[in-house]
Symmetry: C2
Subunit: 359 residues, 2 copies
């Protein structure tokens, strides 16, 4: 599974080591999938099913599942954020928004959600009430029905307050087909607003640093913003991703790393709040590696870039949207950053662990 003997915190960072670990899962589960279908891949050998095979690459953020004419999106995330209450949200809001966003990034309209709690013995019921109310409110706002669930309790000292898994199902309308494989030379790279807010808010909420700053998490459901983008850009919307663990830098790399094309991004165009920039400078972090929970990156054809940008800015969750870069011919599979001081450097993925338990 890995060259490491033990799981390290960096295996949960969303960066390079996470990718290595998950690659091992993909190998294991892909071969199982082949075995389940007689070695030809997909689900075709499941007896008398009318469902065609799903995407052959498992363990993406969402799976698109064809079901009798309608394609379904299916996504799961476990939330382990610490602290569980932070400026701008709590683990419950995060758990609903995060899964809504993974569905929305696949172009799906979120419909159904499961909720599974792992609670540490002694956890305050009053806090559980707040978290559940927060989930109910966010789900209602997003038009998502929480339809099934599970609750486990572990002994004191064997968990950390509460962990929440949400798994979502959404429907993908015909004609919507998003994915990094659609990216073309000349495409534009858009980001929906200021970056690093969630990571900074969660970090400061831990109180490990003596920094006072008025920074709220951007935790929000992005399904309407993504629908606005698709409405404005149509089939020229190539792909979308929410920039969670690993930050914008890691997500941009993930979008381009399998490509024969490259990407250039202008540092000066990336929106960052002054307060976030200030906190990052004090702490030695770069905002592009900090987690966001209400920001997305979209890659769209140049012919629709301006229309999509206007549509994003018309949505309150995209009011600070900006065009930050382009798809270029080479170097393939890399993100080049044009720095504010006029230089150029490779913008890599997050490597190792920046902030554990950020989502």
């Amino acid at each position: 599974m890995s060259k490491h003997d033990r799981v390290l915190l960096a295996h949960g960072s969303g960066g390079v080591m996470s990718a290595e670990l998950i690659a091992g899962f993909v190998r294991a589960f892909s071969s199982a999938q082949s075995a389940a279908s007689g070695g030809v891949g997909g689900l075709s050998a499941v007896p008398s099913t009318s469902l065609p095979a799903p995407s052959p690459t498992p363990l993406n953020d969402q799976a698109i599942l064809p079901a009798s004419g309608k394609r379904l999106a299916f996504t799961t995330d476990s939330y382990v954020i610490s602290p569980i209450f932070f400026p701008g949200g709590d683990i419950g809001k995060l758990a609903v928004c995060g899964t809504v966003n993974d569905l929305a990034m696949g172009g799906a309209r979120p419909l159904y959600m499961s909720v599974s709690f792992i609670i540490e013995e002694g956890f305050l019921m009053s806090e559980l009430d707040l978290i559940v109310a927060s989930m109910a409110s966010e789900a209602a706002g997003a038009g998502v029905a929480i339809v099934t669930g599970d609750t486990k309790v572990v002994e004191k000292g064997k968990g950390d307050g509460i962990f929440i898994n949400t798994t979502g199902i959404g429907v993908v309308e015909d004609g919507i087909d998003l994915g990094p494989e659609n990216i073309k030379e000349g495409d534009k790279v858009l980001v929906s607003g200021t970056i690093g807010d969630h990571g900074t808010a969660a970090l400061l909420a831990r109180g490990d640093f003596k920094i006072e700053a008025d920074i709220n998490s951007d935790c929000a459901p992005l399904h309407e913003l993504s629908a606005d983008i698709i409405a404005a850009g149509g089939a020229s919307v190539r792909t979308m991703r929410d920039a969670t663990r690993g930050g914008v830098a890691t997500i941009l790399n993930e979008l381009i790393e399998e490509s024969t094309l490259g990407m250039t991004v202008r540092e000066a165009s990336i929106p960052v709040r002054d307060s976030v920039q200030g906190a990052c400078e004090l702490l030695g972090f770069e905002p592009v590696y900090l987690a966001n929970e209400g920001k997305l990156v979209a890659i769209v054809g140049p012919e629709v870039a301006e229309d999509v940008l206007v549509a994003m800015q018309a949505n309150p969750l995209g009011k600070d949207a900006a065009l930050i870069g382009e798809i270029i011919a080479k170097p393939a599979g890399m993100v080049l950053l044009e720095t504010t001081i006029g230089g150029r450097r490779i913008l890599g993925k997050l490597s190792g662990q920046l902030l554990p338990r950020i989502c």
Copy 2:
């Protein structure tokens, strides 16, 4: 949410206190569901959806979701069993089988699964490899494709090795409509084999008791057994449940508690291995409250009971199947046990905590 200020281990027992806690979740998420749809229940106000409303009672073990003519079953469970390796299985096998079984109990054919890991820093990669291999093997055997996933890592001391969430989607063929609301007077109660194997095996594997016994968990996927039951019993199969946390006694109560009918069960007819019976007597447990991970309870019309029993016994996972009781007119909502010594008593649900972290 509860009359308790803090979460207790018994809130995860699968018994009375679990039910109280989950009732609070259902209230919160049901009202959210109504709000999402303009107060009329279900999903009908989600714009331009072609999907009708799901079942109005959320947080059952599986939700049946109508999707363009085909109904989908949707179920989630987080697995926190300790120890993670036990005679007859491991947490990975359990996580796949448990979710396959929840789908199968809804009459669904399992198709897709998500997997989400919460891993404690320092967990051995070699153990993770074993667990993932076990999941891949079980999924292949059950014809289920693992199509999406997530991995989080928490600091040492903030988890307990590994927790796994699996969430499954299956398809329910037309004409299959299972549920306790279908139960009629005179129906027969069947159990698919010896009970208490999993609970006893997991308990002894913890090594807290100085009892040596050769008892394996019954952990197994029940989708073929449930299909055999439906094939033999057709529309006269009323409902099925796998008898996990809380054991057969709790599951039988859950099936009848909302009913205007009652149930009688013969203790002498309930299959229990001598080794399990022996361990239970030493430890002061009743097998009917111990968890099973490869046993189901089916309630079927009397006209098909013999055929269903024969079909169950023809499947290796049902070879010890037995007819253990009947649905009676009254007392309503209760399970009466005819004891081996000729008495009669109420068989209640599990109350409080028997064995934490049994699944």
